[in-house]
């Protein structure tokens, strides 16, 4: 495990996330403030800030906790708000199945939105080669580590400074700008840009859905539209690729 931290890809993972870290930190800071302002005790806020590691589910749950909602309602809310991670886990599955179950759960737990996005940007295809697998693990570890430190560290700072930083300053918008920058870096093909456009429009149109389900609807709509557009576009432009039908299913 310790050799993972010395692997050169660990540093690459850190380096890729570092420019976004201030945005994550601003977001974490405001989440820390919001947890205290909506009435969690110090212990509860610290525990949530350290353990839950999912900003949108924290922000959705805090008002429910304050209102005394039943536990199952809060947990169901957290699950639904996190549903996009279920989609991500389907994507990441072939990258982690060589690990044992505990290690896979740890990898999953620590892979938040940005680590998922940056990891799949660096490694578009899974591998079975042990050296390459090691690189991927090290990259993900470095990426998640700095993400965790900036999110949790800034959440704790926000909890400590809750009465000094008004939410009305809107510092959390830096988090949105960070994601905007990453989104621009991903928009390298026309279909990816279409995906962003469709998802953005669908998320606004479906905003009235409860439990942030608009995000799931938006991802589904964007993927479906892109798959439909893919065939005609490929027929017109791309060179024929070798068929991949005989892939070694489940070997990874």
């Amino acid at each position: 495990m310790s050799s993972l931290f010395k692997h050169p890809e660990f540093r690459v993972g850190v380096r890729d996330l570092a420019p976004v870290a201030p945005g994550i930190a601003a977001w974490g800071l405001m989440t820390g403030v919001a947890m205290i302002k909506s009435g969690l005790s110090l212990t509860e806020a610290l525990l949530m800030g350290v353990l839950v590691f999912a900003g949108s589910s924290q922000l959705a749950a805090v008002p429910l906790i304050a209102a005394g909602a039943p536990m199952w309602v809060i947990l169901a809310t957290a699950f639904c708000v996190n549903l996009r991670f279920v989609v991500f886990s389907a994507h990441l599955r072939p990258y982690v199945m060589h690990q044992n179950i505990w290690r896979r759960m740890l990898s999953g737990y620590l892979t938040a939105d940005l680590s998922y996005v940056l990891f799949t940007r660096r490694f578009p295809h899974p591998t079975t080669d042990p050296v390459a697998l090691r690189e991927q693990e090290a990259y993900l570890a470095g990426n998640s580590a700095i993400n965790w430190v900036s999110w949790v560290g800034s959440s704790l700072l926000g909890i400590a400074l809750a009465n000094a930083i008004p939410l009305s300053w809107g510092l959390g918008f830096a988090g949105i700008l960070a994601l905007l920058g990453i989104m621009c870096s991903l928009a390298t093909t026309r279909l990816r840009a279409v995906s962003a456009g469709v998802a953005g429009a669908a998320a606004v149109a479906a905003f009235a859905l409860p439990l942030k389900l608009n995000i799931l609807v938006a991802i589904a709509a964007a993927v479906a539209v892109c798959l439909m557009l893919e065939k005609p576009m490929r027929a017109r432009t791309a060179s024929p690729k070798p068929a991949k039908s005989g892939e070694t299913g489940g070997a990874v």
Binding site: P19, V20, I36, L40, S41, L42, T43, E44, L47, M48, L51, V52, F53, A54, S56, S57, A61, A78, N82, F85, V86, F88, S89, A90, R93, P94, I101, R104, S107, G108, T111, V117, T120, P124, W169, G170, F173, A174, I176, L177, A178, L180, G181, I182, C184, L186, A196, A199, G200, A203, V204, F207, I215, I219, A222, V223, L227, S245, E247, G250
Partner: protein, 111 residues
């Protein structure tokens, strides 16, 4: 500040479990299976879609409605951030340029 409630502590631990379960949902079973090829291709469009789905409503909506006025600091910040990105290709610069536009408009003019 309110008192710590054991029930709430249990809820928070449950939420952490929800994070684990959702993020490793398809890692849990080790039965060999693979997604059909179309689904694998489709998932390549998911990362950018997820980002857009999270950020676009935060840019153009408030209180569940599309904003009606152009006097909104967020719009100018998004333009500045995007312009920076395509000029210099840095995410840190995107954040800083966007906030340099956002904070004066939001805190100074109340947009």
């Amino acid at each position: 500040m309110s008192k710590t409630d054991l029930w709430t502590v249990a809820t928070i631990i449950g939420m952490a479990l929800m994070t684990v379960i959702t993020r490793s949902f398809f890692f849990l079973s080790s039965k060999p299976w693979t997604l059909p090829a179309w689904a694998q291709r489709g998932l390549h469009y998911a990362p950018i879609a997820a980002l857009a789905a999270v950020i676009v409503p935060e840019m153009v909506m408030s209180q569940g409605q599309l904003i009606a006025s152009w006097k909104d600091a967020r719009l100018f910040a998004v333009v500045a951030g995007t312009a920076w990105y395509y000029w210099r290709h840095g995410v840190l610069g995107t954040i800083l340029a966007g906030m340099a536009v956002y904070l004066p408009l939001h805190m100074g003019l109340g947009w």
